[in-house]
């Protein structure tokens, strides 16, 4: 019921937007044609707007679609998508004025089987941090905030869990492709000089890929869970990434994707940095 009402509100905002010619395309969701799925959708005409749907299955992150688009776009942004857009702005990947953000509250998504979507149960952000238009869901006000994900286990335990997790990994890179932050034209793992990927796809190769990706996301992960959700093998890649996220929050007071004015931790150069993350720097704690 509530989703129907929100869908109607979203549709009327989108219709106005497309009619005004302020944007050429709106990135949103539609029914997936398969039971229990709502899938990414590009609405281009006012007529297309009737296909747009909002519900508890809109679990894919669609903000990455605006990266690299040269058109003016509108986008339906749930909180993690809005954090991604914020992060793109701080990383100078998109201009704030080129996106029209229809922010929407989110109480959490479920997957096609009705199970909570990875990332949602430990989500700390239920309202979009930036938007041009805002669609409210009253239920978020009464939701308890989840405990921070990284509070469970600690670095060593989570590293151990992660080592076991990657047994299941088939190195398909779906996690990388789904991650907003993996926008390099050529991923390090695909480079030949140096050759990061040994011939045999064994535990070491998998670790090289996942640790490399983790380091490249230091302080950039918005905890959207897309990596884990897109992994058809069921690998929880975030065990290790969330530890790095916590480290950056503790040491540098930076949370990715919350404030478009804040400079990302990795882009700051301070002479009095204790360089705790580096060999030879001051040790943590």
């Amino acid at each position: 019921m509530i989703y129907e009402e929100m869908t109607n509100n979203i549709r009327s905002v989108c219709e106005k937007l497309l009619n005004s010619n302020d944007v050429e395309v709106i990135v949103a969701y539609r029914g997936g044609g398969v039971e229990g799925m709502q899938i990414p959708y590009f609405a281009k005409t006012p007529e297309d707007v009737q296909n747009i749907e909002w519900g508890d299955r809109c679990y894919q992150n669609i903000a990455p679609y605006v990266h690299g688009l040269s058109k003016k776009v509108g986008i339906l942004a749930k909180p993690c998508d809005a954090r991604i857009l914020t992060q793109y702005i701080t990383e100078q990947q998109i201009k704030r004025d080129d996106v029209y953000i229809i922010g929407v509250d989110c109480v959490g998504m479920v997957d096609e089987n009705g199970d909570p979507r990875p990332g949602c149960p430990d989500c700390m952000v239920r309202k979009p941090p930036i938007y041009d238009e805002y669609i409210k869901d009253d239920r978020v006000d009464s939701l308890d905030l989840s405990p921070p994900a990284s509070e469970d286990g600690g670095l060593e335990a989570n590293f151990e869990r992660f080592r076991k997790e990657i047994d299941k990994c088939i190195m398909c890179y779906a996690c990388r492709q789904a991650c907003y932050g993996c926008y390099c034209k050529t991923c390090f793992i695909d480079r030949d000089l140096p050759d990061w990927q040994p011939a045999e796809i064994d535990a070491g190769t998998k670790m090289t890929f996942h640790m490399g990706r983790t380091m490249h996301l230091a302080g950039r992960c918005v905890e959207c869970g897309a990596c884990e959700a897109s992994c058809e093998s069921g690998v929880n890649v975030r065990y290790i990434i969330k530890e790095v996220t916590k480290f950056i929050e503790d040491e540098y007071g930076y949370s990715a994707g919350m404030d478009p004015e804040q400079v990302p931790a990795l882009l700051v150069n301070k002479f009095d940095d204790r360089e705790v993350g580096f060999l030879g720097g001051e040790t943590h704690g």
């Binding site: 590009f42 679609y65 190195m171 040994p198 959700a229 897109s230 058809e232 093998s233």
Partner: protein, 329 residues
């Protein structure tokens, strides 16, 4: 088909698998901790019965994700051909039909692949029928009968009353296995099984038409290029080689590759004939629905629905095939 049909109970099947485990690796549907997959099982209790389909296909038993195929040493090259014995239990009709397509590709073309062929010949394949279609499955529209496939050594029909299965042996290997492990086989009158697909999804067009008349860019505009669809697909079979120096000798590894990856057709010059994702998806589609059909006589999509369920972008090969059919009208 009246002759080879018998009834066997679940307990007998488990006993048979336990015996087979003594000198073969048994792959069967089991949990990988989170998902159902065809896993090597050491304990029959780990096998998951029921109608769920493993998230990825059993192709890697015959064509592993990574394998060392040749060692070069002192001017000699030695092929590393597996002689291990395998049992694949619980393969679904869509996977069995797909495996047969793989077999054709790897053994009936201009080149024979001994690595695949040996594994295939050393494997006892036991199929199981599906009871219901899962969300995303479209086997019936792809000429796959969810209740039966003869592309195996033994086929178990759907589980019936009191945990009994109708077992059909379809090869000497299958007949011999049943005879060896099951005492007092109860035969039954197999009246056969009828499969009448309502409609068959196929593409009746030339490559040129597919290239020129279809707006691939808008058809797959949401594709993220992850390649998951090809890795879990039961008929995708592309691979690449990598040679490495391993302690005084050189080894050649073969790893899966995917036409959805940007490096798949990247030339040394830097030119890439399939620069864009939609061009890569066009290859995936045309290979399945056109090229394999032309070269081996069967469409390389059995409608297992895996890519439909797995795609993070909602790209649906069935919907795409239908749309192409309409656009070509």
């Amino acid at each position: 088909m009246a002759d080879p049909a018998v009834m066997i109970s679940k307990a007998e099947i488990l006993k048979m698998l336990a015996e087979l485990m003594k000198d073969a690796t048994v792959f069967a549907p089991a949990s990988n901790g989170k998902k159902l997959d065809y896993m090597p099982v050491r304990n029959v209790e780990d096998i998951v019965f029921g109608d769920d389909i493993p998230y990825k296909s059993p192709k890697e038993i015959f064509f592993p994700r990574t394998e060392k195929i040749i060692t070069f040493k002192d001017g000699d090259a030695e092929a590393e051909i597996s002689t291990e014995k395998y049992v694949l239990f619980g393969a679904r009709p869509c996977d069995l039909e797909a495996l047969d397509i793989m077999r054709k590709v790897f053994t009936e073309g201009r080149f024979k692949d001994p690595f695949f062929e040996e594994r295939y010949n050393n494997t006892l394949i036991i199929g199981v029928g599906c009871v219901d279609k899962k969300p995303g499955c479209f086997c019936d529209e792809r000429e796959t009968d969810m209740g039966y496939s003869d592309k195996c050594d033994l086929f178990l029909g759907a589980q019936g009353a009191e945990d009994y299965f109708q077992a059909l042996h379809l090869s000497e290997k299958g007949r011999e296995t049943l005879g060896r492990y099951i005492d007092g086989l109860r035969t039954f009158q197999n009246t056969g099984h009828e499969f009448k697909p309502a409609h068959t999804l196929s593409i009746d067009a030339t490559e040129e038409e597919l290239f020129d008349k279809i707006d691939w860019e808008s058809l797959v505009e949401t594709c993220q290029g992850c390649g998951m669809c090809t890795y879990i697909c039961p008929t995708c079979h592309c691979f690449g080689f990598k040679d490495v120096d391993e302690g005084g000798c050189a080894s050649r590894y073969r790893n899966w590759d995917s036409c959805m990856f940007p490096k798949f057709t990247l030339h040394a010059s830097g030119h890439n004939p399939r620069e864009e994702r939609h061009e890569r998806y066009r290859q995936r589609f045309a290979h399945k629905y056109l090229y394999v059909k032309k070269n081996f006589g069967a469409v390389a999509c059995t409608g297992c629905g895996r890519c439909v369920r797995a795609c993070p972008a909602g790209v649906n090969i069935k919907a795409i095939a239908e749309k192409i059919g309409e656009d070509l009208q």
